[in-house]
Point group: C2
Chain length 306, copies 2
């Protein structure tokens, strides 16, 4: 793989940025990668484990002279970081981000982008329940999707170059409009996360079922929910606050359907339940056929090498 | 491992029974294992893949002379099967089951158990989203829990022997009262499954987001839900119809909590969201410490050998 950017700056050094670093290095996609994290402890860890060619003590220092600046901070912090680095951005450079919400990020970041600098929002659909600089690994983006969300007037060459970077990191790339992105993600990610958080919270609250029982007997089902519900609290708080409308719309639909199924249980309408459960099976088959998951027994966990 | 029963009969040959067969064989826990499935196609498959030492064409034939009869049919069918085999049960034999609901199974099965035959209900907390005779594998119960739910007057020796079988198949064994079992399972399994089914159904319904988009962009979150929602429709219909009260109670609590979180999103109460999400993280840590899941990155899926 040939070099796509001379210098890349990663602002924020969590799971996504650290995985980007290892994936960039794996394929030789950049000459130098600088990094910055707000917390001194994170910068210390990054230096210790060799995360980034150069760890800087300010976002401005990391971004200065970079050909690509990647904002890898929680969605709610994107605007402030963009304002901070704006004046050191190199003419012709591209600013991108990895936020899970796109309309809000565009509204918050775009006003700070100087004339002559490109802004190409992006969102890699990949993650684990772990966070922090040590959570990253080079394979995170392999065979996953990264959505580019070009804004009005995004330079096609800047978009193509960012696409090449993500493809070089192993991802498939698609382009999408910001509002549609936010609705699709509300369905596939944001609402499911809130629902999982809620169910885990309910279990925790329930006095008659002790925590140790919930933990001990967490078969498939709840166990999967806890994994989702272990994701980074700051990141998810920001997602819900900034993709409010789409998330609330989907949750409204969800509640409506849930009430219908609860009524079917209450009235003993087995046919309704059976038909519903049969329909949802088909979606699962589609996901396996689309290569976005394995159908290994026990969800692949029994055979983990690590 | 030494033999625990001379002859074991598996009535119903889905994921649970087929995994039991391979686990019994792995450890040499039984002399002969007979099997029966209602569908001729399933019996055909079982014969072809060598599932069971002898596949019978009736439940009575399979159960006759067995020292342990395991009812591995959907919860709603347990009573009818028990009635069918009652008259051929050997004096001193034990009847057990693997149903996800215990109070209903006890009510449906116990009246059919003849004098001199032991009845020890059980529930292995293990599964995958696959079903059918080819879904089973010997490792399914390794390091998982099996709950025994002895009824009034269950013979301690019969209970101990069944415990030895499950331990021989790799499981940890605990005993629990039927009603408490049904409540714990409503929290850890039944309510989460209904919620996952609901969310996947909502995604399928949504007109503005096409199915192909939902499938293509299903990152963690929704992807986990679809796996849960791909479980056997008949089994789950019966679970909800027969554990109605506990499931509806938990769903009521769930809805209450979900509304509180929706209100926090609507009013922009980030602190409420952050605190809630931080609390749920701790439960996840507990599950990993309890050895009921791996914390391998990407949920272990990226490294699946199969």
């Amino acid at each position: 793989m040939s070099q796509v950017y001379d210098r890349v700056a990663l602002i924020g050094l969590g799971l996504i940025a650290s995985s980007m670093f290892w994936a960039i290095k794996r394929a030789g996609l950049a000459g130098e990668v600088t990094g910055y994290a707000r917390s001194a402890e994170t910068r210390e860890t990054a230096r210790r484990i060799g995360l980034c060619d150069r760890v800087c003590d300010s976002a401005r220092e990391a971004a200065e002279g970079a050909d690509l600046v990647v904002l890898c901070v929680p969605v709610g912090a994107m605007g402030a970081v963009a304002a901070e680095i704006a004046s050191v951005l190199k003419p012709g450079a591209t600013v991108t981000d990895v936020g899970s919400v796109k309309r809000h990020v565009i509204t918050a970041v775009q006003p700070h982008i100087p004339q002559g600098v490109h802004f190409v929002p992006a969102h890699p659909l990949a993650g684990t329940e772990h966070s922090g600089p040590e959570a990253g690994f080079a394979e995170l983006y392999d065979n996953r999707w990264c959505l580019l969300v070009p804004v009005e007037g995004s330079d096609p060459q800047a978009v193509a170059r960012l696409r090449a970077l993500w493809e070089g990191m192993g991802a498939h790339v698609d382009e999408m409009d910001a509002d549609h992105h936010d609705l699709v993600l509300a369905v596939t990610s944001h609402a499911p996360h809130l629902i999982a958080y809620t169910m885990v919270g309910v279990a925790d609250d329930l006095r008659r079922v002790t925590d140790s029982e919930v933990i001990k007997y967490s078969a498939a089902g709840f166990r999967d929910f806890t994994r989702i519900a272990a994701s980074d609290p700051t990141m998810w708080r920001d997602v819900f606050l900034t993709n409010k409308d789409a998330t609330l719309e989907i949750l409204g639909r969800f509640t409506e359907e849930l009430f219908a199924l609860q009524r079917a249980i209450r009235t003993g309408d087995g046919e309704h339940l059976f038909d519903y459960f049969t329909r949802t099976r088909a979606i699962r088959r589609g996901i396996i056929e689309a290569g976005q998951d394995t159908d290994a027994p026990d969800f692949g966990r029994g055979q983990v090498k690590a």
